[in-house]
């Protein structure tokens, strides 16, 4: 599904290398987790894959099902089926959640040469999906993320994911700022979307999210590289011993 090779990235504004040769392959239908200490480049990886400005790829490639992501505009990557659940979802005054969702769904359908979804079908679907994430109708009418709690914002990200039905989902620290109940709700939403044709890259600092979203593969990232790859037990090792042991072992 996603193949990243030797990816080197520096900040555009200053001469600072953030990613120093990331190699990562996410197979179709699998859930991969990336863990790592602060500043290891986890979030940068998610931004570069989605095409945020401010980063310069100096070497390497990122290909999603044959599409060269680095050659595509952000919106084209989305239409190809890439989705990033933001660590800090953006508040947009003046645009209702519903308008935002419908515009996004239809823009992607249009880009893929599909017909726009009718207003009735859209409404039916969004209501059903919102309900399973405990997002009430009132929240849908409100401006995007305005006045939403931390948990509501993250649930709203998952709702967008559910509506857009991407192939490749990147979750950037989706657990940050969530209490146990909210995390459970978000994880249930993600688990409901797991399927044979859909892959996930779950970026997290802590192991606890991975109790709820069980990964197939766990990677440890440090200083701009993947330094260790293993099964779910690797996450438990981090939980018990912290990153220091693993990093010392690598040094």
């Amino acid at each position: 599904m996603l193949e990243i090779k030797n990816l080197h990235v520096k900040l555009e504004e200053e001469d600072k290398q953030i990613l120093k040769g990331v190699d990562l392959t996410v197979e179709t239908g699998k859930v991969h987790a990336i863990m790592g200490p602060n500043g290891s480049g986890k979030s940068t990886l998610s931004y570069v894959l989605s095409g945020r400005e401010g980063y310069e790829v100096t070497e390497g490639s990122a290909v999603m099902e044959g599409a060269d992501l680095l050659e595509l505009e952000t919106e084209e990557r989305a239409a190809e089926g890439l989705f990033l659940a933001f660590q800090y979802p953006v508040e947009i005054p003046g645009v209702s959640n519903m308008t935002f969702l419908r515009t996004a769904v239809n823009a992607q359908r249009k880009a893929r040469g599909q017909e726009e979804m009718s207003a009735t079908d859209f409404l039916k679907e969004v209501r059903a999906k919102a309900k399973s994430l405990k997002i009430d109708a009132e929240m849908l009418k409100r401006p995007v993320n305005m006045g939403f709690s931390g948990g509501e914002k993250k649930r709203n990200e998952i709702l967008q994911m559910a509506m857009l039905e991407p192939k490749m989902c990147i979750l950037d620290e989706t657990d940050s700022g969530l209490d146990v109940d909210a995390m459970k709700l978000v994880a249930d939403g993600v688990n409901a979307l797991r399927s044979e044709g859909r892959s996930f890259l779950v970026i997290t600092h802590y192991q606890r999210l991975l109790d709820h979203i069980k990964p197939d593969v766990v990677h440890i990232m440090a200083d701009g590289r993947i330094v260790k790859t293993g099964g779910p037990e690797l996450a438990l090792e981090v939980e018990h011993n912290g990153y220091a042991d693993i990093l010392a072992e690598m040094a």
Binding site: A78, A79, A104, Q108
Partner: protein, 435 residues
């Protein structure tokens, strides 16, 4: 011979301009009730002279083309759109280059309404409008002179006089068409909303190469006046408009203006609270691309207790367009419990555009809540990235963010159908002017 001061030279310039303008523009021969107010306005004009580009009140907007004897030519432009408000059940009146078009207008009558053309009504010796025509304009000359409004009262060729005596169900809609390249239109409307009555006035259209319009509105106790205006189409047109409003006890005044295109637009509003517990909201949104200059100048005087005033102005500017906002709230001694709010914001879509704002508060009462704010900014990059990451193309994302930016001003319109129609026009304009 004494040496003239700069002030004296400017005053002489102003008067010379007024005389040149009067020589070029014939004064309508009025023999009825309007003769006196027109003559008085003429005296005011000669006394004040026409605005000088060095006048403090015209610091950000050059009045030369509004003052000079002849208008600058303006090409007519067809955006291939039907005229706005066409779907509304209304009493529709049409002016072409400032001349009333009876063929294209409904007959002047309506339930709860006395309505007449100024040029026809002013032949009579007495009329309900005679206590208002030029009166509110004259009151509005203090503390800041507005000579182009005095010129209007003196020289207006026509206008509509509307008296609402009950709840008027159909809005009165005035469309101003522009056909002649060098047309110079001066229209003066008077609206009187009697106690407990309600009226909605809609206005739209480019009007003329140069348009000078005055709207005097007197809202009696518990009356309500709603005003929605769309100034659009022709790029080269120039316009100055004044609204003079006087608000009685527990009355309501709401005015919204959408402006797109136009080399020069100066919209002044002078609102005075004379009765307690009244509400006045004035809002505007403008979109300018290229050779566009838009100026909102507002003066609100609180001279009564517990009144609420709200000013919400949003400007979207690109390719060197210029936006101006001058807004003042004056709270007189004794106008306690005043609630005054003012916000002016601009969204600059590139580095070439400019927004100049001069918010002012002058308060002589000690128990009031007044606030003002002004901001200038570009499109929020984080918001834009959020849209793009969801697959929304850049142009569409920008349009949505621009519409979101002006939403606070549009929300001031109570009639949601009309607000929706204006939003559609905005979206269409953005579509034409993207990229």
């Amino acid at each position: 011979m004494a040496v003239q001061s700069r002030k004296e030279i400017m005053a002489a310039d102003r008067r010379a301009q007024a005389e040149a303008r009067l020589a070029a523009t014939p004064m309508p021969a009025a023999s009825g009730w309007s003769a006196t107010p027109r003559q008085e306005a003429l005296s005011r004009l000669i006394d004040l002279g026409l605005p000088h580009r060095r006048d403090e009140y015209w610091k950000f907007t050059d009045p030369t083309t509004l003052s000079q004897p002849e208008p600058v030519k303006a090409a007519t432009f067809d955006p291939q759109e039907t005229l706005i408000f066409g779907g509304v059940d209304r009493l529709h009146l049409t002016f072409v280059d400032g001349v009333f078009d009876a063929e294209a207008s409904d007959s002047l009558e309506g339930e709860g309404l006395e309505i007449a053309r100024l040029s026809e009504a002013e032949a009579a010796d007495i009329h309900w409008a005679q206590s208002l025509y030029g009166t509110l304009e004259a009151r509005g000359q203090q503390p800041v002179a507005r000579p182009l409004a005095a010129l209007n009262t003196a020289l207006a060729s026509d206008g509509i006089l509307i008296r609402a005596t009950g709840k008027v169900s159909k809005p009165v809609h005035i469309t101003y068409l522009h056909n002649a390249e060098a047309s110079d239109a001066i229209l003066h409307h008077v609206v009187k909303v009697e106690a407990g009555a309600e009226l909605t006035l809609l206005e739209n259209g480019p009007a003329a190469a140069r348009f000078n319009k005055v709207l005097e509105v007197d809202v009696a106790d518990t009356g309500a006046f709603h005003h929605i205006r769309a100034q659009g189409r022709d790029h080269e047109r120039r316009a100055v408009s004044h609204i003079f409003a006087r608000l009685g006890k527990e009355s309501t005044f709401k005015s919204f203006t959408l402006t797109v295109n136009g080399v020069l637009t100066r919209n002044e509003a002078v609102i005075e609270f004379t009765g307690d517990d009244a509400v006045a909201h004035i809002a505007g949104a403008c979109l300018g691309d290229g050779d566009f200059h838009h100026d909102d100048t507002v003066f609100i005087t609180h001279d009564a207790v517990n009144c609420e005033s709200r000013q919400v102005f949003k400007k979207v500017l690109r390719n060197g367009a210029k936006g101006v906002f001058q807004g003042k709230i004056l709270v007189k001694e004794g106008a306690q419990k005043t609630d005054g709010y003012q916000i002016s914001q601009s969204l600059l879509l590139d580095d070439d555009s400019q927004f100049l704002a001069k918010p002012e508060l002058e308060i002589y009462a000690d128990d009031v809540a007044c606030s003002h704010g002004s901001t200038t900014g570009a499109i929020d990059e984080d918001a834009l990235f959020y849209f793009l990451s969801r697959g929304i193309p850049r142009k569409e994302a920008q349009s949505l963010l621009v519409l979101a930016f002006v939403a606070e001003a549009i929300e001031e319109i109570e009639n949601k159908d009309l607000a929706g129609e204006l939003t559609e026009r905005l979206a269409a304009w953005l579509q034409r002017h993207s990229g």
